[in-house]
Amino acid sequence: MILVLVEKDLDGAAVEVSLEALTFARSLSEAGGGIPIDAVVVGDVSPDLRESLAAYGVRDVHTLGGEAFAAFAGSAWASGIETVLASTSSVVLMAAGTPRGGEVLAHVAARADVAMAANVLGFDGLAPFVVTRQVVGGQAVEAMQLSTRPTLFTVAGHAVEATPAAAQGAATVVAHEPEVAAADLVARVVSTDEPEPDLSGSLKSARVVVGAGRGAGGENGFDDLLELADLLHAPLGVSRVVTSLGWRPHHEQVGQTGSRISPDLYIPCGISGAIQHWAGCSSAKAILAINTDPDAPMVTKATHAVIGDLHEVVPAINAEIKRRRAG
């Protein structure tokens, strides 16, 4: 039997990646001649959740209840899953490749002294069982042989598309309230809050950063850029040459010798994208480059680009923002 740890979101629904793990489990089940798939859920199972687990072909839904599971403790969850594993004599235990999924499976693996494969993408054969998985942050793929039982692995996010099963499962709820040893509750979440703001500087924590390079043209070339920054509540980040030339202070520098930023959106204006600079901004989620040179590295590496002089483009953007806000 295949047991899949299903994680819930704040609304009590199964997270997408857990559904992907169930989809993956089904392909494994089919290859193995129709091994049944059970789910294990910590806490309550709402009717909606049960329905969706049924849609994904789940036979039994094992729940772990009781005070021991009221707040997260990796070892406690592992202890509970051990109970389920024992009661169902499962040969495979899977989870989504989330931080929590990986953590819990690692606990199970350590306790049982078996191997565990993280971020699996697929499998090549059952005997021996060879999985392919992400390594080097997804830049490479490893073929790995998993020979211990139970077989433990997490499924990399979006490795498969979550697809309901052709035939519904029964999704029979089987409630467990196992004893958890005190030692397994030592490392336990004691409080959960809204995330605290990052205090390590406005550049480093900003959601949006407006960047300025040599294209600003001079000490007095920053007015439009500062206005855009103001409109977006974004700090200004500049390239090394700008601080070297004394146009802006050093603490605004982004790059190898300045700050490393990771905003949702970075808007480098008139920055060609010297490697020095790229090292400081490469982890931005989106980059809108404004540059006269369509071949500039910053443009080719960006997600979005406008080709043109920043002194024309930026005032037009500022005007457009003000127009929409006024309207």
Partner: protein, 846 residues
């Protein structure tokens, strides 16, 4: 994917400082349809220009490099990308102070403002330096930093503005196609790229560290190696941050620790040339995508840098240890090194395929201009012969050679390098047949063009006692390093009896075919249409009338000439003659260098000695000066060896050069030594042949007195008549004959060698000639006189200097001074033309 034009008049491969400068100067000089490509993106395609430290120190011991640097600086200034900061080269030891004094000689010779200053003077300008770490410094106020990327963009844009340049970044060269002419010479036809093919008759490889890879595509060798220069950036330093701008403190070169400290905004960049040489192969440089920073910014290896870091910290503890100053950027930056430290410029053996590689930021724009001039006119204003790609011999084209030599020379970047210093690595590449015998004679070998040449023989040490003080011993270690008084003893014995000299390093090639006469007439200034059996000494000029070479030509037949030239410059001469062969292939050039050895015998007893070994007529009547013919010499094996004898002399004595097949050379050598012994003859080294013998006779040497910036007139080598036949440089030469010279090559003697400390000092070359009061002299070109050659003239008992003087100073008996290690020594002009100080009427040669 970018696409390239299908045709171009010229393709420039590379958009670093060199490629950008080239496209600017080529379009300025009228080139049309210029295409520039680079595999990287603009403005920084990822080569060495992108991570350069961008500072320029102007004083180098090499005139060629200094001229290129000064021209580059001028161009950077015109573009508005130069910031003057001043620069100090500091000395931690007395030995280094002496080197800085020598550096002052170069500064004066090249006319660059510089002075020696105290640690306190340095501290005043660089307040965060620790004065107890050094004893003095060389201050060059004109030193500064440039923005080489900006300069590249400006030059590219200037070229684009002419409408004749197309720039295509992000295309990679995949092949260079050539075709072969009937005479075997190849020509470039096409550049293949990932963006399509470009038909082009002229292509320049300006691809820095990748140049060897591109050269391989056309089957030519561009022998440079990518080498690591380590650099870290420490900051922000409050002492620097409080001043605006990129640089406001002078740059420090800490010569004895092989480090520099250069402000960059709020950061201090510390660079090092001291670590072990870290070399890479061009094929092992990461691609743009694989590189973490850029392909030429390789991962930093901190272990190599740690010792330098410690020394830099001792020098600037308050700055480098400042609160908040962190090491945020550290690279192993790749730059290009060559076996002799010079760039690789000029047209390769594939016609139309040029290179401008192994060039540093300080030389970039100057190289661009000079190579563009060379491509346009066939010559450049600045003499580039030390950088000519044609200079390399086969053994130097091996990657192994470049690797070994650069490994050895890396530390010389900031080292104290004696002008005669020899390399230790990759020696014994070319051994003359007499090598074993010479080793037994205790020869001390110096290398020329890979040949091991005896400089003197320890077996002659016994002569020292015989000649006593006439051997002009030198007291000071520096003056006598790579030198021996035995040279002077050998010299005196030659003048007294005779000397046998191994000249196997000569580069020898035959020109044969119906157009042979035309080829030599076109290339040589002297009349070559002479009787068979005549020997011609001739200058070889470029089109502007500057020296390309000087060499001898023998007419061996109606359609057969043999050219004999020095080993060092031989490959460039061969390329020059080769380039003047008719395309049809009817006349050929055959290199005999590895087949024919040369042994010289000169001195008053030379005729007696040779006569004892041959029954051929070697009398003056039977074998006149400047004639050549085959004679039979009896050698050890009992039989006779046929040798081509040529009566000529570079040492001012009666005698012959004997050309003999390599296989018979050792026997001939032994026979001459054996036959010479009863006459008092000894083996003599190149110290006699190259310096003492020639300098007494005022004979000029290519590379010292003669180069492309000098004329026959200024060198005092003009003959009464100019031949009727046309030759390269004739028009310019005729014009030079009509004009007054701007400088005159003179022979000077040193009147007093005694330094302030009482030690007698002997100049080695490169020193400035000043007025007796130490004031600068300036010739008609605006240049300042310096010593082109220096050496003992033992037969005169004088130390002799050659120098080009302003015409008004070129007066026999004129009193002047030479500055050596920052002291003045009186000198007197002895000759103002080619008239020798010894034996002015050349009686001894007869």
């Amino acid at each position: 994917m970018a696409e390239v034009p299908s045709t171009a008049d010229v393709v420039v491969i590379g958009a670093g400082i060199v490629g950008n400068s080239l496209v600017h100067h080529l379009t300025r000089l009228g080139w049309k349809n210029v295409v520039q490509i680079d595999k990287g993106a603009l403005p920084n395609p990822g080569g060495s220009t992108g991570h350069a430290s961008n500072f320029i120190f102007t004083v180098d011991h090499s005139r060629e490099i200094t001229d290129l640097t000064l021209d580059s600086m001028k161009q950077y200034k015109e573009m508005g990308v130069f910031t003057e900061s001043g620069g100090f080269e500091i000395a931690r030891t007395e030995e280094r102070m002496e080197e800085l004094r020598r550096r002052m000689s170069s500064a004066k010779a090249w006319g660059i403002e510089a002075s020696l200053v105290s640690p306190e003077f340095v501290k005043e300008k660089v307040p965060f330096i620790e004065t107890d770490q050094f004893i003095g410094a060389f201050w060059t106020p004109g030193v500064g930093v440039v923005d080489s990327l900006r300069a590249g963009t400006i030059m590219r844009e200037q070229a684009l503005a002419t409408g004749e340049l197309t720039v295509v970044p992000t295309v990679e060269v995949t092949g260079l196609d050539t075709e072969e002419a009937p005479n075997g010479n190849r020509r470039i036809t096409r550049v293949r790229t990932t963006g399509g093919d470009i038909e082009a008759g002229t292509v320049v490889i300006a691809a820095g560290v990748w140049s060897p890879k591109l050269g391989d595509m056309a089957g030519i060798s561009i022998p440079l190696t990518p080498a690591v220069h380590q650099m870290i950036s420490v900051g922000p330093c409050p002492q620097l941050a409080e001043r605006e701008g990129e640089i406001s403190f002078p740059i420090i070169r800490d010569m004895d620790t092989f480090c520099y400290e250069r402000q960059h905004g709020a950061d201090m960049e510390v660079g090092s040339y001291a670590h072990r040489a870290i070399l890479h192969e061009p094929e092992d440089i990461p691609s743009i995508e694989q590189a973490k920073l850029s392909p030429t910014e390789m991962p930093f290896t901190s272990d190599d840098f740690d010792p330098q870091l410690e020394q830099a910290y001792e020098l600037m503890p308050d700055l480098l240890g400042a609160e908040g100053a962190e090491m945020r950027y550290a690279i192993n930056g790749l730059l290009s090194l060559t076996c002799d430290g010079n760039p690789i410029l000029g047209e390769s053996e594939v016609a139309g395929l040029w290179t401008a590689s192994a060039v540093w930021i300080k030389e970039g724009p100057g190289v661009g201009r000079a190579v563009a001039e060379w491509m346009t006119h066939g010559h450049s204003e600045i003499d580039l012969h030390h950088s000519d790609i044609a200079r390399f011999h086969d053994h130097q084209k091996r990657r192994e050679h470049t690797r070994l030599r650069t490994t050895e020379s890396f530390i010389k970047t900031y080292g104290i390098v004696h002008p005669a210093e020899q390399y230790a690595s990759d020696r014994d590449q070319r051994l003359s047949p007499m090598h074993d015998s010479q080793q037994k004679l205790g020869a001390v070998f110096f290398e020329t063009a890979g040949w091991e040449r005896p400089f003197w023989y320890e077996s002659n040490a016994g002569l020292l006692e015989e000649y006593g003080d006439a051997v002009m011993p030198r007291e000071h270690e520096w003056d006598s390093r790579w030198w021996s008084p035995i040279i002077n003893a050998e010299h005196l014995r030659m003048r007294e009896a005779a000397a046998v000299i191994d000249l196997s390093a000569f580069c020898i090639f035959d020109i044969e075919g119906p157009e042979a006469l035309e080829v030599v007439q076109t290339t040589c200034v002297a009349q070559c249409d002479v009787a068979v059996g005549k020997v011609i000494y001739t200058p070889v000029l470029d089109a502007k009338g500057g020296f390309r070479s000087d060499l001898t030509v023998m007419r061996l037949g109606e359609h057969h000439f043999r050219v004999v030239t020095g080993g060092a410059h031989g490959m460039a001469d061969r390329a020059w003659f080769s380039g003047h062969l008719p395309e049809a292939g009817t006349t050929t050039l055959t290199d005999l260098t590895d087949d024919v050895s040369t042994v010289g015998i000169w001195g008053p007893r030379a005729r007696d000695i040779l006569a004892s070994l041959t029954s051929d007529d070697v009398s003056d009547e039977g074998f006149g000066f400047l004639s050549c013919r085959e004679i039979t010499v009896s050698t050890g094996s009992g039989g006779g060896t046929t040798v081509l004898a040529s009566r000529i002399s570079y040492v001012g004595e009666l005698g012959w050069e004997l050309y003999v097949p390599m296989g018979s050379a050792a026997e001939l050598w032994e026979a001459l030594l054996d036959a010479g012994r009863p006459h008092g003859a000894v083996p003599a080294g190149i110290g006699v042949y190259g310096t003492t013998g020639r300098i007494e006779k005022g004979y000029r040497a290519y590379g010292a007195e003669l180069d492309a910036e000098r004329t026959i007139i200024e060198a005092g080598m003009q003959r009464p008549k100019v031949k009727a036949a046309d030759f390269v440089g004739k028009e310019a030469y005729l014009a030079q004959r009509e004009a007054e010279p701007q400088a005159v090559l003179c022979t000077l003697t040193v009147d007093d060698h005694t330094s302030a400390s009482g030690t007698k000092r002997y100049m080695l070359g490169g020193e400035p000639i000043l007025t007796p009061a130490g004031e600068l002299l300036t010739d008609g070109h605006g240049h300042h006189p310096y010593v082109t050659s220096a050496g003992s003239a033992p037969s005169l008992g004088k130390h002799v200097l050659l120098a080009y003087l302003p015409p008004e100073q070129a007066v026999i008996g004129q009193q002047l001074a030479v500055s050596y290690m920052e002291e003045l020594y009186p000198v007197t002009v002895g000759s103002v033309d080619a008239t020798p100080l010894l034996d002015p009427t050349n009686e001894r040669i007869r």
